[in-house]
């Protein structure tokens, strides 16, 4: 049903139509509206049978999901930022045990300095956790990815993260086609676990594995993610047939056929980037954009196919790999190995800094003109940074940098 609604609410309603049987959640901004709505749906009886469990931490939330999923229940949670990091030990465990848990991550920066606004630092830190990671370009896709995520998770017996930009998507009100219960039921069959804790057929899950088999078990985790490269587009196609709109898949190219410069992004900034691409195209610039929806597994072939013909690639990173630069860039470079092509890493929008069309125009113009450095921090206030660096060089006790910079920002006003 088409309605004017909030991203979080559309996601919560869609998740409810997926009929999760256990939801364990701990509140953290900007995920809160999703779990608030789900708690209401469960308590009001609109979603049943379902156990909504208020837990004492994200570590407990994921742990409870592990138990519930292993006992054969369709299981869901949502988190963000520090909460995702607080879950880390259990995240690896969930994927290692092959439990098809679905989790929404409302992407948010990681402190210190504490910052509640959007970037991809949280989920990027979990790129090797064995979870499938799907990034939504808009709220329609954020909602639509959830039935697909449950299908994918349960087909492959792997956990799936649906990543949606915090605030930018979670708190944005827009027209969203929220699926109907009957549609979701037809698309998503009831969960049939591959292994389940059953007194009539006892199994031991989570045994100690030594060097004789550990590599093989890890290889299987990789092999299953490789299977997801086939399953993700197939499920997206089935979704399109069932719901009449396309969401998901591995990648989304925009105006890439003849593009000399292609901008690679994940998540909601794709919309702004496409607008800028349109405007530059009007000026005759051969530029395109590529959204990567499936970051894990990383679609090497699909990325190579789209980017292979370009002259240069600009990767817009929403997280920083401190000490080297870009995380997505490294993955893109792997996809392009053997292809001669200029690559640029642009770190943008950290901690919720707006990525404006104006900045993007400047950036892409520089790229097209060959003026772009290998590593660029979009809209970095170099004056502020240099002042603090000078202060740090002058005295051993320069004080806390973040506070110094905030004071400088204040004095500039």
């Amino acid at each position: 049903m088409l309605k004017q609604t909030e991203g979080s609410r559309a996601v919560a309603e869609t998740v409810a139509y997926c009929r999760p049987e256990v939801i364990a959640a701990y509140p953290i901004s900007p995920q809160t509206h999703i779990v608030e709505e789900l708690s209401r749906l469960v308590k009001s009886g609109a979603l049943k049978p379902c156990e909504y469990v208020n837990v004492e931490s994200e570590f407990a939330a994921m742990s409870m999901c592990i138990g519930a999923s292993a006992a054969g229940a369709r299981t869901y949670t949502a988190t963000a930022s520090q909460g995702l990091l607080y879950m880390v030990e259990a995240l690896y465990n969930a994927s290692g045990l092959g439990l098809p848990i679905v989790m929404t991550v409302a992407n948010r920066a990681i402190g210190a300095p504490i910052n509640i606004w959007n970037d991809h630092s949280d989920t990027m830190s979990q790129r090797d956790s064995g979870w499938i990671q799907l990034y939504a370009r808009d709220n329609q896709e954020a909602a639509d990815l959830h039935p697909q995520a449950f299908r994918l998770a349960e087909e492959l017996s792997l956990p799936v993260m649906v990543c949606m930009d915090g605030f930018v998507l979670t708190h944005a009100w827009e027209r969203i086609e929220v699926p109907e219960q009957t549609q979701v039921d037809a698309f998503l069959p009831p969960y049939e676990p591959r292994q389940v804790l059953d007194p009539d057929e006892p199994v031991s899950i989570g045994a100690m594995v030594g060097p004789d088999a550990f590599t093989e078990v890890r290889y299987l985790a990789h092999a299953k993610q490789m299977q997801a490269l086939e399953a993700i587009p197939r499920i997206a196609e089935e979704f399109r047939e069932a719901f009449g709109r396309s969401s998901g898949g591995l990648v989304h190219p925009y105006a890439c056929e003849d593009a000399e410069t292609i901008v690679v992004v994940l998540g909601s900034v794709f919309g702004t980037v496409c607008d800028v691409v349109d405007e530059m195209r009007e000026r005759g610039v051969r530029i395109g954009a590529l959204a990567i929806t499936s970051f894990r597994p990383f679609p090497l072939e699909a990325v190579r196919t789209v980017l292979g013909g370009a002259r240069q690639v600009v990767v817009l990173e929403r997280a920083l790999a401190v000490g080297i630069g870009g995380i997505v860039s490294a993955n893109v470079r792997t996809a392009l190995s053997g292809i001669q092509l200029a690559g640029h890493t642009v770190v943008a929008g950290l901690g919720g800094r707006p990525i404006t069309k104006e900045s993007l125009h400047r950036l892409f113009d520089d790229a097209v003109a060959g003026r772009l450095e290998q590593l660029t921090f979009l809209d970095l206030n170099t004056e502020l940074v240099e002042r603090e660096l000078a202060r740090m060089a002058k005295t051993r006790r320069s004080g806390p940098s973040a506070e110094n910079i905030l004071r400088d920002v204040g004095s500039n006003r």
Binding site: E21, V22, A24, P49, C50, E51, V53, N54, V55, E56, S57, F59, A60, S63, M64, C65, I66, G67, A68, S69, A70, A71, G72, A73, T75, E89, A90, N93, L97, L197, D198, P199, E201, P202, V203, S204, I205, G206, A207, M208, V209, G210, A213
Partner: protein, 337 residues
């Protein structure tokens, strides 16, 4: 209803009044040749392992009480490692291990799934050592208590991290030597005033049932498991399980040492419902703490090179305080009067 007998049984050091003389209803779960045998032989625990003994009795009793419908969730630790070296397993019931610090939350997740599926017949038991329970798992355990999740959680307390080579835990008693509380310096071993009583912490959550037990009272352990399984909600059982390796005791002394822990008052055995102590196992033959400390190498520094009578006296005061606090000598006084 619980199948456990309502009378108290005492192990008297002989088998004269063993199971054979009792009616089938009153016999030990272990006396039943058709018992569930949740933890089978062939596992890799050390000789004389108190935890293996405690776990087998506890889970067999839980199985019997639940008509065989039990799912066990295990924290990382000795019990997990010695029972499931892949591709083998000693567990004959559905068993799940996830992490060190999350067994109570995982067990609660299993319980939530069963509730959602309407499986009221299947029951959940969580279990872990003292490290996984008292230290790293305490947050999850407190959450499980607070929500009153339908889980019986059993802590097998051997008073240190035995699986990693005997380092101190929050349950390590004062003066005990571990690899991280060495027997050196002015105050050798674990310091006084540290450590925590998880049974008392559990009681503060006012959950339906809290009890302590030792492997010296296996009938008592079985009866408490039966009582706990007859209830719903969060239940906690704290079982003292001596560790021959970590405590430096003879393999054949495990049960004797556990009994001495009870008889000195250092490990009070009691039951509580809704946060109130309802029953204690009285000390029938009170022994000074020295008798308990002397056979254990972890306390050797209290006796050599010269006896630390001051420290032993301080430990005696700890035992005396337990005896007073829980009224452990009440019955003896009754008998003697």
């Amino acid at each position: 209803m619980s199948a456990a007998p309502q009378v108290k049984f005492y192990q008297v050091g002989s088998f004269a009044a063993g199971n054979r003389l009792l009616g089938p209803e009153a016999q030990s779960d272990q006396a039943d040749p058709g018992r569930s045998n949740a933890l089978t032989c062939g596992h890799r625990a050390c000789q004389g392992c108190g935890e293996a003994l405690g776990a087998r009795y506890a889970l067999d009793a839980a199985q019997r009480a639940a008509g065989g419908k039990v799912i066990a969730v295990n924290a990382t630790g000795c019990l997990e490692v010695f029972s499931t070296p892949y591709p083998e397993t000693s567990w004959q019931l559905p068993w799940l291990h996830s992490l060190f610090g999350n067994a109570p939350a995982v067990a609660a997740g299993v319980a939530a799934a069963l509730r959602a599926k309407g499986r009221t017949d299947v029951r959940v038991v969580g279990q872990g050592g003292d490290g996984g329970t008292v230290d790293i798992g305490l947050g999850c355990l407190s959450g499980m208590f607070e929500r009153n999740d339908d889980v019986l959680y059993i802590c097998y307390d051997n008073e240190a991290y035995m699986n990693t080579g005997v380092q101190r835990s929050g349950a390590t008693p004062a003066t005990a030597r571990t690899a991280t509380t060495q027997a050196v310096g002015e105050q050798p071993g674990a310091p006084f005033g540290q450590g925590k009583s998880l049974p008392l912490i559990a009681m503060a959550h006012e959950i339906p049932y809290v009890a302590t037990a030792t492997v010296a009272g296996l009938r008592d352990l079985e009866a408490k498991v039966h009582r706990a399984m007859g209830m719903r909600g969060a239940r906690y059982l704290h079982v003292l399980v001596p560790c021959p390796l970590g405590w430096g005791t003879a393999s054949h002394d495990t049960v004797r040492i556990a009994r001495l822990a009870e008889q000195t008052g250092l490990f009070p055995v009691f039951e509580a419902t809704g946060g109130v102590v309802t029953d204690v196992t009285p000390i029938r033959r009170r022994v000074p703490v020295e008798e308990y400390l002397r056979p254990q190498k972890r306390y050797a520094h209290l006796f050599t090179p010269e006896p630390r009578t001051d420290v032993i006296a301080r430990l005696q005061r700890v035992a005396d305080r337990n005896i007073a606090r829980f009224g452990l000598l009440a019955q003896e006084e009754e008998v003697s009067s």
